[in-house]
Every structure is written in C-alpha cells, then in structure tokens.
Symmetry: C2
Subunit: 367 residues, 2 copies
Amino acid sequence: MTFGLTPQLRLDKDKVEANCRRMARRARDLGVRLRPHMKTAKSIDVARLATAGQFGGITVSTLAEARYFADHGIRDITYAVGIVPGKVADVMAIDARIGVIGDSLAIVGEVDAAVGEVDAATRGHDRVLPFWIEIDCGAGRAGVEADGGELVSIAGAIDGATNLAFAGVLTHAGHSYHCTDIAAIRRVAEMERAKVVRAADRIRAAHIDCPQVSVGSTPTMVHAEHLTGVTEMRPGVYMFGDLDQVRLGTCANDDLALFVDATVIGHNRRAGYVLIDAGGLALSKDRGEVGEGYGRIMDHPDVIVADVNQEHGMLACAGGEPPPFDRLMVGSRVRVIPNHACMTAAAYAEYRLLDDEMTIWPRVNGW
Amino acid sequence: MTFGLTPQLRLDKDKVEANCRRMARRARDLGVRLRPHMKTAKSIDVARLATAGQFGGITVSTLAEARYFADHGIRDITYAVGIVPGKVADVMAIDARIGVIGDSLAIVGEVDAAVGEVDAATRGHDRVLPFWIEIDCGAGRAGVEADGGELVSIAGAIDGATNLAFAGVLTHAGHSYHCTDIAAIRRVAEMERAKVVRAADRIRAAHIDCPQVSVGSTPTMVHAEHLTGVTEMRPGVYMFGDLDQVRLGTCANDDLALFVDATVIGHNRRAGYVLIDAGGLALSKDRGEVGEGYGRIMDHPDVIVADVNQEHGMLACAGGEPPPFDRLMVGSRVRVIPNHACMTAAAYAEYRLLDDEMTIWPRVNGW
C-alpha cells in the first residue's frame, strides 16, 4: 500500500472523540446505558472511544464484527440482525457473551435446540445464549408487534428454553431516517420508546423477568424528549456523522469526522464536470435521503458529486451549473463528505487519521 | 472465516469459462485483440480464463489491481482511469508495462516530467511510459473530441516527450448502458468505433504513428456490426453478466456466473416482506439501469430484493404483491442475481466457487 494515493478514507479522531463524549452525556442525561453500534465504524480503535466510560457492551451487525471485537477483548456483544439456527455454531464459537435477536416462536425453539447441539458437541457443559425479542416500533422491517398475540408466547418460550436466557426487548426506529423535521423525529422517538416499553410491560405482567429494554438510532437518540422505561441505547453513526445526519439535525457540519480524499483527474468543460478518482465504489451508490448526488465537496459547499461511474466521480454545482474549474485544478486534492457514512466506509480496509496520514486504523469488513 | 455463512459471493467457473470463450471468439470474428478489463473480476484466477489464448494484456481500473496483476505475472496492463502526475511514482514502481491514459496537453507535460524524475531518482536509466489519448466517443465523461483542436497537439506532445511512448487512442462507450434496445446499442457501437478511428486517422495524417485503436464496453462489443480500423477491445463484465447485461441483450439468464447466496432470516407478513441477510452492503445500492430493486431471486423469478438496509434485504414480488412465504422458509438459502456485478462483487474479499464452496478465489479490492 502506497501512502498518498487516492481515494482514501480519512477519519478525524478528535471529532470522533467529541461525538462519542456527546452521546455518552446524552445517554447519562436520559438515564440509560450506551451500547454503541459498531456497524458504521467496524474498528476496535473507534470502539475504544465509543465505550470509554461506559459499561463496555457493544452492538454489531455481522458475525465478522462479533469475532473481531471479541478477539480484541470486548466481552458483551449484541448481534442485532435476526438469528437463524444455521448461524448458532458460529455464534457459540466466539469467545464472548453474544446476545442474539429473534421475532418468532419457531426460531426460538430451533435456536434453543441448535445451542444445545453445539454445546453438547463442543463443550459438554451447559451454556446459555442471551436472546432478545425484536419489537417492530413502526419501522416495518422486522420484529413482533408490542401489542400482538405472539409477544408473550415468545418471551415464555425463551424463558422456558434450556439453552437460552431472556435478555429483554429491543427495537430500532429505522423510520426516523425518513423524517423531514425534528418534530417528526421526536414523534418517532416517542413511538420507539413507548412500543418497546409496552412490550416489556406486557411480558412482566406475565411474570417473566425482562431485564433490558433497548432502543436505538442516532436520530431518535439525539432528539428523544425522554426515555422513561428504557434501559439502553444503541446508536452508531453519531460517531462519524454524514450528510444525512446533518439534515436530520443530529450533528453540525463542524462535527463531521469521516471523509473520502480524492484527486481531481480531469476537467470536462463541454459536459460541465470536474472529474475525480472517487466513484461509485469509493463513495457507494447511496444517494442519501435527499437523493442529491453522492456527496459534497468540503471547502466548496456548492459543489456535489453529481454522478458516479465505478471509479469516476463527476463534480458539478448542486444547481446544475458548472463547477469552479479554476479552483479545482487537475492533480489537486478534494475532500468528499459522504451521504451515508456506513455505506461509504465499507469500501475501505482502513482509516487514515486526518492529522497523521501514516496512522492507520483497520476496519473489519465482510461477513 | 467460517464456511457456510451468508451472505457469500458465488462464482460459476464453467459459466465464466464459457463467457470468456464467447468473447474471445467475438474478438477474433471482429478482427481485434482482446484486452479484458479486470475491474469487475479483480481476480487472477478469472484473468487466467479471460486471457487464455489471447495476447496476454489486460485493463485495470485501480493501481491496486495493477500491482496485484503484475505480482501475479501479467506484464502488459492498461490503467484506464485518467493519470495525474502524483500517481506516476506508483505506476513506475510496478514491475510491468503499465499504459496510462490522459486527455489534456498539460497532463502530458507534467506526467512526462514526473516519469523523468522518478526514473532519475530510482533507476538512473531511461524508461518510457506508454501513454494513450482518451477520446470522448459520446459518453461525455472524459476524453478529447475526435474532431477537436487539441487532439493532434496532444499526440504530438506525447510523441515528442522524453519519457512517454505514444500507445494509441482509447475510448469507452459508457453511454451504451443507457440504451433500451439493441438497435440503439449498435448505433452507439458505431459511434464509438467511428470516433476513435477518426481520431487515429487525424493523428496519422499528422505523420505520428498511432499503434493501437482501443474500444470497449460489453454492450458495444457484443452488438457491434463491425470494428473496422480498431485494433483491440476492452470489455469486462461479460465474464460474469448481471441483470443489467441480460436487459442489454449481452447474455442470457443461463449465462449468469455471479451470485450472492443469502439466508432467509425472517417473515414480515404485515409488511409483505421476506427478510434476507443480504442488504445494501452485500448487494450494493446500485439499482441497475431499470431501477427495480436491488437484485432478483434465482428459482423465484417473480421475487426481487425490493428494498435494502445495511444488512437486511426485503424480498417482495416485482409487482408489489407479497412474496411466497411458504416457499421461502426462514433458515433456507436463496441465491440473488445482482443488478450490477462490478458493484456487488466489490463488497467481498473472495469468490467461493459454485461447484465447490471450499475453493476460494481471492479478489483485490480497494486502491
């Protein structure tokens, strides 16, 4: 790997630290513990900043992340994508307490049996797998309804399972990303809180212990008015921020910590484009919630990445006018602010720190 | 890495071989040499199939690819993204003949000087860098106009440069991807051919030797009626095919060689979704030229990946009806056909062969 070659992924460590401190204060003020979601950062160096002063648990989105963070000493991990029996052996092989999530009675029984089989085959002593019930708080992706008939049956099945430990109820307000103002995000945050607390109340009313009540999404955690009844939060992208997060009011432009450095490789005056060497692979094809291009150029606030091919980005003004060619000389560097940090960062094996290009923080991509 | 975990990238080696043989025949029939573009495959194992029986040169889209393929013995490589002086030292450090491309007089002079500096600093003997002129054949991304005033000046500057060798003219008909029928692709193919041949003719009329005339894009190479005056083609995605390529008539469904294997992780009957563990990272957020979802499910031709989050894919019928829940059981495997192979494959460090999951072909991602 040669230094100085673009595109490269840059991280402002000071901004990451400040963003982590801000969310830690927010969790304390709201009276919940912080279990940061590492799906954006996928880096132990960032995880150390995000868990500093916290209870030490994290959330992950892949088993590759779970293995990596366990190998780096993190002992309490929630794998927050629906578990299936076929993945249990891999979960059990990781040397950490890995909580899993599910939303159906059938899965509970099959996972319980799978844990028993793995345990019998590999260890010969009883271990239990922490199992969370996923609640649909209105996002409509996965999870049972807080008021649905299945909820208490699932909790009972987990509670009665040989190899599972009921960890609590968990939800994610993914629909907060589609809000167009903060009042709407507050309403989603209250729906997220109320639904998952309602689920916990119903389970407890059936005399089943429900230790944790977990919510998460950066927009709802920043804008929620209160989290009464909730015990933990799981936001993730707040560590870095991105254009979507600025629009959602969860951070200011000055809080942004993640960038793609690119080189101007050409001027196409006929088409009205400045060409850079960061295209669809380097930025992702995530158009963001606004759908306006593939990123913005720092220090040139009018200029966006209007279009991308695999290795080419086409810069133009947001209004469609030609970009300032004479201020974007061929061979010069530009810094791109991504629409969606999670998608953009995934193209890179590592971060290079903003204040020292020679310092590399590795990432764990893949599955 | 545990075997059997999804999502995983699968490659049908027999289909890749057949696709490579078909394009090799096509090049022979059209009377041009084949310099396959490795930007999709990024794999030496695939490059061996694509160059079998050919002259051995390849095309790449990143310097990471150039280094990797040179390390694996490929000696003639065109780096087909506009060069800037700041990348010359990295190009010169690679142990192969790396051709570079450019489209402006200023770049020619600066690259020439940069080559001289690197050569003086590191070797002390003269080396020349093959330099191609990029022609805009109508795609409107990069390149000089075939009839423009700059073309012959640039050729003269390369020809007169101390450290550069004029390799020829090169173009890419990226606009073929936007065509909606084969007749339109044929017209684009003829525009691609005619423009670059016109550029070569003008350069030769100025008594400058123009050794190569290079075109490329899978749609135009499959559908071109003739390539009179052209010397080489540089298609890439034909090795695998994808949904965009089926639509463009460059391959049949039965020729497709690249898939993402995923697991059904949930049923959301309220929302009318089957959930899989392949989302925006595993499939990419490329919606394809048709813009209909993020992939199709093999063996369930009505079912598409209607929406994605980072690690979740939501399956539904293309018409919006609910998917066949009882034929997509939780825990079962599905095979996703990607919209755009280049973007989807880039999320994976390796291929697993379709006929043998234990055989891994590595990929070279990043820059």
